[in-house]
């Protein structure tokens, strides 16, 4: 029985269990007459269905999680019988061969008879196992339903149990996000540790020269070409330029939208601003590279400045424009959420509109505004496409926005595109950069949280 069919059968069974449990509870409530059911029949039905489905499903999942390796090691016994004990690396090789054989992707090589034998054992066992699994799963489903069905009685607290089950499933869902994050962080950390075994930690963190290509040559390995400072500086330079565009424009347009403009103007302009957020970044990228950068270059030439054809300024400007809607739309919502009664209170004291906005509305909305700006900063730091296209790849350590710079995200991309071996410092450096980026954004978030909380204490 194939797994999908098994699941379908399980679903049918549990819906049957639901109806059976429900009708039994109904019958009980009719027969008992004066005795009231503790829970409505529907809850009894759900409880029976849960007992039918959940244990069976857990068995099913466990089997699929562990069966692969179990079956492989079982099949590998025939290889070890034929060849004697294998060293771990030989073992790995053989297992890989077996996997390839099983998936049918071996065409040219001669097939080792021992391996063929193993493959046959594997497929045979797999079939038996599937049948066994179906039997175990279905009998668990039926036994579970029978057990729960037999326990139905008026006093059974089915509702509380169902609610507990709902609560547990919600908890599981929320922890999945946590575990995913944890998993990503851990994998990045482990890869980074491998990187730091080859390149000293402080060379990476404080090195002033970023030139990963040279490190491919063994004689240059670990000579300090993995200094992250220029890359990080590029990220900060571009983000700073972007934020210096996005924050004033975004905030002021939010204030205009929420406080000054009429409802009609707002109805037209706000969606337009949000369209800006929907433009794919790659479009911004070629806009930056093909329109903005040459324009800046031309302007620079006009006043006698030499501007690189790819410059931090072009990328930062365009990124700033891209981020404006993040700041403006969020801040607009937040400013709108400030209660009208606060504005009224200020107007009634004879404050003008700008005084009211400056002294009452903005302070009241500040925690939210800081939040929206922070969101925009993390957008800027994580943005890749615009920078790849408009800021270049040269890891110059400079604060001059007219030169080409590179950012952490761009370097990660360039390190990882193309065929790579995943144990050279060059590719591992991508993980170290990722970790660095993660730590930086985390720190920013923590700072923002602190700032926001401090304001809350003062103002709420």
């Amino acid at each position: 029985m194939s797994p999908s069919l098994l699941i379908a059968v399980l679903l049918v069974l549990s819906s049957m269990a639901y109806w059976l449990g429900r009708s039994r509870a109904f019958a009980l409530s009719k027969k008992a007459g004066s005795v009231r059911l503790h829970s409505r029949p529907g809850y009894h039905g759900i409880l029976v269905a849960l007992w039918c489905a959940i244990p069976a499903f857990i068995i099913f999942c466990c089997w699929h999680f562990f069966s692969g390796n179990l079956l492989i090691s079982y099949a590998m016994q025939s290889v070890t019988e034929a060849r004697g004990e294998l060293s771990p690396s030989e073992m790995n090789l053989a297992i890989n061969d077996l996997r390839n054989l099983l998936s049918g992707s071996v065409f040219h090589r001669e097939i080792d008879p021992a391996l063929q034998l193993a493959a046959d054992r594997y497929t045979g066992m797999r079939q038996i196992a599937n049948v066994a699994l179906a039997v175990v799963v279905l009998s668990s489903a039926i036994l579970g339903s029978i057990w729960a069905y037999s326990r139905i009685n008026p006093g059974l607290r089915a509702r509380n149990k169902v609610e507990k089950a709902v609560e547990i499933s919600l908890t599981l869902c929320s922890t999945i996000a946590v575990f995913t994050t944890l998993g990503i962080v851990l994998s990045v950390i482990f890869e980074s540790i491998r990187f730091f075994q080859q390149v000293p930690f402080f060379d990476f963190l404080f090195g002033l020269k970023w030139s990963p290509q040279m490190a491919m040559r063994p004689d240059q390995m670990g000579t300090g070409s993995f200094g992250a400072i220029p890359v990080l500086a590029g990220t900060f330079l571009i983000s700073a330029i972007a934020m210096s565009i996005a924050v004033p424009f975004g905030l002021l347009s939010a204030i205009h939208l929420s406080e000054y403009s009429g409802p009609n103007f707002r109805k037209v302009v706000k969606p337009m601003l949000e369209i800006l957020a929907g433009v794919p970044t790659v479009v911004y990228g070629f806009f930056a590279a093909l329109v903005v950068a040459p324009t800046i270059r031309g302007l620079g030439a006009g006043i006698g400045l030499s501007v690189a054809s790819e410059s931090a300024l072009a990328a930062g400007l365009v990124m700033g424009v891209m981020i404006i809607p993040f700041v403006s739309s969020l801040s607009d919502d937040i400013i709108n959420a400030v209660p009208q009664s606060l504005r009224d209170g200020s107007y009634a004291l004879g404050a003008t509109q700008s005084e009211t906005i400056k002294n009452v509305v903005i302070p009241a909305a500040l925690p939210g505004i800081v939040g929206s700006i922070l969101l925009a900063v993390s957008r800027a730091i994580g943005e890749t496409m615009i920078v790849v296209m408009a800021a270049g790849l040269a890891a110059n350590l400079t604060l001059n926005p007219l030169q080409a710079v590179t950012t952490v995200t761009v370097q990660i991309v360039t390190l990882l595109v193309g065929d790579q071996e995943f144990d050279t410092p060059k590719t591992l450096a991508a993980f170290a950069l990722g970790l660095l980026l993660f730590v930086v954004t985390l720190a920013l978030n923590v700072i923002a949280l602190y700032v926001v909380r401090k304001y809350r204490e003062e103002y709420e």
Binding site: S341, D344, Y347, A348, L349, A351, T352, V360
Partner: protein, 297 residues
């Protein structure tokens, strides 16, 4: 107007002991019929501070105030009473143009503050509102410290020339609102952290800190305990020496205690105005009588 002239001589002190309000309403004179919505009583005074003539207010299609004409005298406390939703807050907000902030609200008629038509086209509402202060029905302290809440108005109007002068204004205002003793050790804490009644008194302090000449109070005591209420009523009596006060209240004892004239609103109509003691002892209109005797709420 004949009822007015005969009953005007009944005018006595302002304070009416609470147990007497109902019983002293006398049935001897015939009341004006419930269907009649012309304003009766003492609408106009000799030396008005504000004059309202034929004021109508619309919220979109809804006609919330219907043809109201009334004077507000110098150094008088005018109480406005009436069932919920009859338009007391709406009328109050007309007097300092707070209705401007409500989309779809339209005011017609004429309202004059001393000889200035406050609804004239090119009038500047900022000095008007500084002159006509307001305490709202719901307390709305700013999300700032207690001190800054009170200091806000004086700061924007430049009333204080030094820090210490500002601190004096703040202290004085808080004292008069009866809040100083409760908050003097935590002036730097947020005003929103106070209890509802304390917040309302903070709003009163905030309003009087800008020294308005006319103060509009929309149910200032609805969230206050009897002690705080007494403080606010004392404040009103004290302010009356120099200022003009319009107060909306659902508490008829309060109206009787603090006001000189009382206006009764009913579904957007100004039904009756008169000296407070007369309104509560011998109202001319049947609707007023129904309301103050609790027959209609």
């Amino acid at each position: 107007m004949s009822t007015l002239e005969t009953t005007a001589s009944l005018q006595k002190g302002f304070a009416v002991p609470r147990e007497n309000i109902g019983s002293r309403v006398q049935k001897k004179s015939r009341k004006i019929d419930r269907e009649n919505r012309e304003t009766v009583g003492l609408q106009f005074v000799d030396d008005p501070r504000m004059t309202c003539r034929a004021v109508n207010v619309f919220y979109g299609e809804k006609h919330a105030i219907k043809n109201v004409s009334i004077d507000i005298g110098k150094n008088e406390v005018l109480a406005m009473i009436g069932p919920s939703g009859c338009g007391k807050s709406t009328f109050l907000r007309c007097l300092n143009r707070m209705n401007d902030t409500i989309v779809g609200c339209r005011v017609t008629g004429e309202i004059r503050l001393d000889d200035l038509d406050i609804y004239e086209k090119n009038i500047d509402v900022v000095p008007l509102r500084a002159q006509v202060g307001m305490v709202f029905q719901k307390p709305n302290p700013f999300p700032k410290s207690i001190y800054d809440n009170v200091a806000y108005g004086p700061k924007i109007h430049g009333l204080a020339h030094s820090r210490s002068e500002l601190a004096d204004i703040v202290e004085d205002s808080l004292r008069r609102a009866g809040l100083w003793n409760e908050v003097n050790d935590r002036l730097d804490q947020p005003g929103t952290g106070l209890s509802g009644g304390q917040q309302q008194r903070l709003c009163i302090a905030r309003a009087i800190a800008v020294r308005p000449e006319i103060i509009l109070m929309d149910e200032p005591c609805s969230a206050l305990d009897p002690i705080a209420t007494a403080t606010v009523e004392d404040l009103i009596s004290e302010l009356r020496q120099h200022y003009t006060i319009v107060i909306v209240t659902h508490n008829m004892q309060q109206a009787a205690r603090v006001s000189q004239r009382t206006a009764y609103f009913h579904l957007g109509d100004l039904v009756e105005v008169g000296h407070t003691s007369r309104i509560f002892t011998n109202p001319a209109h049947q609707l007023t009588e129904d309301y103050i005797t609790g027959r209609f709420g």
